[in-house]
């Protein structure tokens, strides 16, 4: 009996809306656009956040990355033009960390020589020579596309072998197999033993993953040490500048996610003890991840409030039109009352129309919101988007709620009209 009543009421409401199709669509437009934009915005936000998270994960959530940083210039270092400017992480730092935090698995020291020419016959590119250790790939989550990475034996023998990354291979070996070939970096020749796979572009945050995207050549850190010594000379604006950096990077890997933060704290203390200047930085990908999640939560909150406001505006639009409709249909209301409709019947009739309008708008909005991100945003703006079910369900339910709330007043106005007055209405 109830189902039958609901069905008749709904079909009466649909008929009435169908009579003014264009008006119905225009009335629901606020809701449609509100729902669509919420879903699209959330899909874009979700896509971006997933991309950032993926990039941070690539750095390794278990890792703590220490990097040498040129200390801010002050008066005490102003005279350094004549002396070698010495800063950054030391071999001793790595030793100390190893001794103090024994549970930290792997420690990867690395040293960079920037802007070095790498040459093969007449091909020449400018790139970075990275001195590192055999377990670098494992810790930094890099994979080889060809050959092998550096070995302990290479380290021990200070072998003149190297591993190239993708960009350098494309530049120096456009047509040839690089394995076994010899390239010159600085003043030494190195035999290519492997090629690293490329990595996605770095996330902006702190340039945390800046290595991997440029031109890079990896050699045993021991070899680098013996070839370059500790002091690097560079011509800069007519002057020779000498810099002494023992290690450019140390990666400390925690055995578990829970220990990442305590270990990073310990590492910071160890470094603070050994350094008088802030000539290093500590990057904890896990904390980046956490702050990325916090950012996402805030963004969602913001989008949620925008959504609430736009649906509110949509609801007011619907109420406005429904009030006009009620006035326009005063005579009809009088007739129905004279023929036996109770106030409740009139309330149900108009409330149903409003809810149908809002729910229809919500449904259309969800449909657009599901289709647009992939077919428009991703295709034409090249931004990753991910549509999840939650905002769709939420936005639709809120639309229905808006219809209910903003339908009550017009329906109440309709129901409380005096039937005799309503019948006389022109």
């Amino acid at each position: 009996m109830l189902g039958f009543r609901v069905q008749r009421t709904v079909s009466m409401g649909l008929k009435s809306l169908w009579l003014h199709k264009l008006r119905a669509v225009l009335t629901a437009l606020g809701i449609i656009l509100g729902v669509t934009s919420v879903i699209v915005m959330l899909a874009v936000g979700e896509g971006a956040s997933q991309a950032v998270q993926a990039q941070i994960r690539q750095l390794g959530s278990n890792n703590i990355i220490l990097r040498s940083k040129k200390p801010p210039e002050d008066s005490s270092t102003a005279s350094a033009t004549t002396f070698a400017l010495s800063y950054g992480l030391k071999y001793l730092d790595a030793e100390r960390i190893k001794a103090t935090v024994p549970q930290a698995d792997v420690i990867v020291p690395a040293r960079h020589i920037d802007s070095e020419y790498i040459v093969r016959y007449h091909h020449r590119v400018s790139g970075t020579v990275v001195g590192t250790v055999p377990w670098y790939t494992e810790v930094a989550k890099r994979t080889l596309s060809q050959g092998r990475f550096l070995t302990s034996l290479d380290m021990h023998r200070r072998a003149t072998v190297c591993v190239l990354n993708g960009p350098i291979v494309r530049k120096l070996f456009p047509f040839h197999d690089p394995l076994g070939a010899v390239v010159k970096a600085g003043s030494s020749d190195y035999r290519v033993v492997g090629v690293l796979e490329g990595r996605n572009a770095a996330p902006g945050a702190n340039g945390a993953a800046s290595e991997g995207s440029g031109v890079e050549i990896y050699v045993p850190i021991t070899t680098l040490q013996s070839r370059y010594g500790d002091t690097i000379f560079k011509r800069r604006s007519g002057q020779f500048q000498a810099t002494q950096v023992e290690l450019h990077r140390i990666i400390v890997r925690s055995p578990s996610l829970d220990e990442v933060v305590p270990i990073s704290k310990a590492v910071e203390q160890i470094l603070a003890y050994g350094h008088t200047k802030q000539d290093y930085e500590v990057v904890v990908p896990l904390q980046l991840l956490e702050s990325a999640e916090e950012t996402k939560r805030l963004t969602n909150l913001l989008l949620g409030s925008i959504a609430a406001i736009s649906l509110l505006v949509g609801g007011i639009g619907i109420m406005n039109i429904m009030l006009a409709t009620v006035t326009e249909r005063t005579r009809e209301i009088g007739i129905r009352r004279a023929l036996g409709a109770r106030r409740t019947d009139i309330i149900v009739q108009f409330l149903t129309e409003t809810i149908l309008l809002a729910a229809g708008g919500g449904l259309l909005g969800v449909a657009l919101g599901v289709v647009l991100p992939h077919h428009v945003v991703t295709r034409f703006f090249d931004a990753p988007t991910i549509v999840t079910a939650r905002p769709c369900i939420l936005a639709f339910s809120v639309s229905v709620g808006v219809g209910l709330i903003f339908g009550i007043y017009p329906a109440y106005r309709a129901a409380t009209m005096d039937p005799i007055e309503a019948l006389r209405h022109e």
Binding site: F4, R8, L19, I335, R337, L339, G340, T344
Partner: protein, 224 residues
């Protein structure tokens, strides 16, 4: 036997400080099968009286027995229920719902009785046929002449098989020939045993009605 009886019915409209006495005490008994014409000058309270009989309004004072029940002090929902099951209205300006077809208009009272769609459609179609509009069943009111619209209204008034059919100047908007047709339709309803009360200015109606009640200034001045 009286199926409806009003006792000392008073209706006063209050407009700010001014009181308008639309009905000043009306006593009347309506018997089953009555065909009553109410006449009287404009403003004498005929429509007000009909609206009270039709439970669209409640009197300021007095009683109104419909069957055994005093309906003068009922709630809005109870009055709606009585309109839904016992009263049939016919208006001067037809008052059809413009967006509904002929049969759909006839179905409206049945909708509020909660009858099934199928049953309503059968009954509405039969009634449309009875008033000679079988071929117009799916037309909209604006596609019909005034006389045809009033026939739809009569069919609608009969849909719920009411105790009383109340008609307020049913021929007021029609030319005399069409008016005569409509009156003939009411006559035939009366012959079927329906109780009919019609407000009219047409002395002609008085001849076919069993009873003529004349109103003057909110009171009954003659009842023959």
């Amino acid at each position: 036997m009286a199926i409806a009886q009003v006792v000392d019915l008073v209706k006063t409209y209050r407009m700010g400080a001014v009181e308008v006495h639309a009905l000043r005490g009306v006593d009347l008994a309506i018997n089953e099968g009555d065909y009553m014409a109410i006449m009287g000058p404009s403003g004498s309270g005929k429509s007000t009286f009909l609206n009270l009989l039709g439970c669209l309004d409640t009197p300021t004072r007095g009683s109104y027995f419909l069957g055994e029940q005093d309906v003068a002090r009922l709630s809005d929902a109870q009055l709606s229920h009585i309109r839904c099951h016992r009263i049939g209205f016919i208006f001067q300006s037809y008052n059809l719902i413009q967006q509904l077809s002929v049969v759909e208009n006839i179905e409206v009272p049945l909708y509020y009785q909660g009858r099934s769609a199928h049953e309503s459609r059968l009954r509405a179609t039969a009634l449309a046929e009875q008033v000679g509009l079988a071929d117009r069943a799916t037309h909209r009111p604006h596609e019909l002449s005034g006389g045809q619209q009033q026939r739809v209204a009569i069919a609608r008034a009969m849909a719920n098989d009411p105790f009383i059919i109340l008609a307020d100047e049913p021929t007021g908007n029609l030319d005399s020939a069409t008016g005569t047709e409509i009156l003939a339709l009411l006559d035939s309803l009366s012959q079927q045993g329906k109780t009919i009360i019609t407000v009219t200015h047409d002395e002609h109606v008085a001849t076919s009605a069993h009873r003529v009640v004349r109103f003057g200034d909110g009171r009954i001045v003659s009842d023959t």
